[in-house]
């Protein structure tokens, strides 16, 4: 089997789910003839026609609201945000209308809102965001953020089949950089389960998205240079969180480093620290620590962006500190 990129895996997932279920429709800006800003939907208009690949006006709240209405009446809309940064324009619709629909009015609302997120791409403050933490305290939503080709495909399929709304983040730095062979067409990767990206015994790095790859690099380096055995846990699913997997790893290694690309203050690492502290306090041999972005809007110039975002060498240093604690 040929290798595909993460972007191609997304496209395959969309195509296969559209093939499988006629209720699946796509909505978004420039997703039809143009195939989307990153070409995630390239070719799908030709294949499925304009009734299922719907180009929309520039109106994120309108699109998400329309998707919700469609979902109430049996459709399975998948909405593309041209860049995930624009999801903020649909913040009200997502948190107030979509997330609460089932609870307050018994309205099924199985929609997926997906799009390119993340930095390391010189996109500047409005094309590099990681908005996941803003949705973490919204009961009713699910949040997925895969970082491998297989997960991107399998979790997108799971998200589309899910009975509830799912925010699905795709790291654009990985879109074309990550390649792998894909398993069979029906590999659905369930939401809510973390993935052990690398086994280890001395300490655990809990992370997700692009920084999984940096954590793996750091683990490699630490094994070679320091003889440290670092476990890397890829959360993949941020809501719900896979508490079992997290706690199992912490109980094994007794030292945890949390890494994410979002700003340190208010990022998901806070919630993770609270959960670990609540359930594994007695197992901790060192404080849980965070490596994350500086608390600034993400700047655009390469030296600035590199300085603000977490880098592999940061993770290495933090691990050494933890291991020595």
């Amino acid at each position: 089997m040929a290798e595909v990129t993460l972007l191609e895996a997304i496209r395959e997932a969309l195509a296969e789910e559209m093939e499988r279920d006629p209720a699946v429709v796509l909505l978004g800006e420039d997703i039809g003839r143009y195939g989307g800003a990153f070409k995630a939907t390239d070719g799908l208009l030709d294949r499925f026609g304009p009734a299922r690949v719907i180009d929309t006006p520039i109106s994120e709240a309108g699109i998400v609201g329309a998707a919700a209405g469609m979902a109430h009446y049996g459709m399975r809309p998948v909405v593309e945000m041209q860049f995930i940064d624009f999801i903020s324009c649909a913040y009200d619709m997502l948190t107030n209308y979509v997330a609460t629909a089932r609870y307050r009015a018994f309205l099924p609302c199985p929609i997926v809102v997906r799009g390119p997120s993340g930095g390391y791409v010189r996109g500047g403050p409005f094309h590099s965001q990681n908005p996941e933490a803003a949705f973490l305290h919204t009961p009713g939503l699910k949040i997925a953020y895969p970082c491998t080709v297989a997960d991107a495909k399998g979790m997108l399929k799971a998200a589309i089949r899910d009975e509830d709304p799912v925010l699905f983040f795709e790291h654009k730095y990985l879109y074309r950089r990550i390649k792998a062979e894909l398993p069979g067409p029906d590999e659905v990767v369930p939401l809510g389960r973390a993935r052990v990206a690398r086994e280890g015994t001395d300490l655990t790095i809990v992370t997700y998205a692009a920084t999984v790859w940096k954590a793996l690099e750091a683990a490699e380096e630490l094994a070679a240079s320091d003889g440290l055995s670092v476990e890397v846990l890829d959360l993949r699913s941020l809501l719900p969180l896979d508490d079992e997997a997290i706690m199992a790893s912490v109980r094994k290694t007794n030292r945890v480093l949390l890494v994410h690309e979002d700003t340190v203050t208010g990022g998901i690492a806070g919630e993770l620290t609270a959960r670990i502290n609540e359930r594994c306090f007695e197992w901790l041999d060192a404080p849980v620590r965070r490596v994350a972005a500086h608390d600034v809007p993400l700047p655009y110039a390469p030296p600035l962006e590199d300085f603000v975002l977490p880098q592999t060498s940061d993770i290495v240093r933090a691990c050494r500190w933890l291991a020595a604690y």
Binding site: V25, A51, I54, T56, P57, S59, A61, G62, I63, V64, G65, A66, A67, A68, G69, M70, A71, H72, Y73, G74, M75, P77, D92, M93, N96, Y97, T100, A101, R102, Y103, R104, A105, F106, L107, P108, P139, G140, K142, E163, D164, E278
Partner: protein, 364 residues
Amino acid sequence: MADTDTTPGAPSALTAEDRLALYRWMRLTRTLEERLVALYRQTKVVGGLFRSLGQEGCAVGSAYALQRTDAMSPLIRNLGSMLVKGATPLEVLRQYMAKGDSPTRGRELNIHFGDVQDRHFVGQISHLGDMVPVMAGITLTFRLRGEARVGLVYVGDGATSTGAFHEGVNFAAVQRCPLVVVVENNGYAYSTPTAQQCAAERLADKGAGYGIPGVRVDGNDVLAMHAVTAEAVARARAGGGPTLIEAMTFRRKGHAEHDNQSYVTAEEIAHWAETNDPIDRYVARLTGEFGVAAADLEAIDAAVAVEVDEATDLAEASPPCDGPDALVGVYAEPARMPGLWYRGDASRAVTEHERPASWGTHDG
């Protein structure tokens, strides 16, 4: 009467039975609301109470142009539309009284509830304008599936200022969704007069900017309201896309019961009550032009009163909500949320908690 684009709709489209039905819905709306006021004063209504006094013609006339399978999204002042579409007084009473067997099991207020299985009204949220995109999506679904169904969404003059209204109408227009947008221009958004909400003299003129017809109608003439809506519904059903209807009416009560409407002169309110009450106007027409006997209307009134009385008794007897039921149904799977550690297995722990006195909010 307001300056309008339309003359009262051709009454021939409605049968004598329809005409009495319109009367009955308007009367039921008013009687039910009066009952709610009584319950509110007895502090049996939890939260605020929102009146549609003087706007019943607009709500009832428009909703009556829909079929049961058509979808509708009401505003807080569309109790009449809800009833026409099949909501029962009992549901409404239970909902306002936050009963455990209310349509939302106590999760949401007043007429914020829905039914997309049978009667096809969609539970709105408070955030104004948000229902417009949602209804655009519902009606897009109808169109894509080739179903001859339409949707109708109500917004107030105030809600036309929201970004969500704009994005939703524009989306519906571009996609030629079978959607009728009824803007109830009742002169005020809370305390804000329409002229401070929008500098256009006619909200109907917004239609042109979306490339859809915009018409203004006398919303207190239930037959005109019905006729104009029926025409828009027919156009939508035939594939002609959305219509924006501006219904001219007047809010004769405050924003909600707590609001004494100090920002409107007593004269203006009295003037509307005396010369432009939709029920009075309709009664005059029914008994005049349509030769209906006053006794027939009185019989309807009496039946409505009995219906509301019976519903009130049932609603009052309904059980309150049960605390732990709050944990059910955020997600399809798992359907129930876990408890909190410090409550242990004492899921009924809440009974020992302090109970803050009920305290109505000032908004819908």
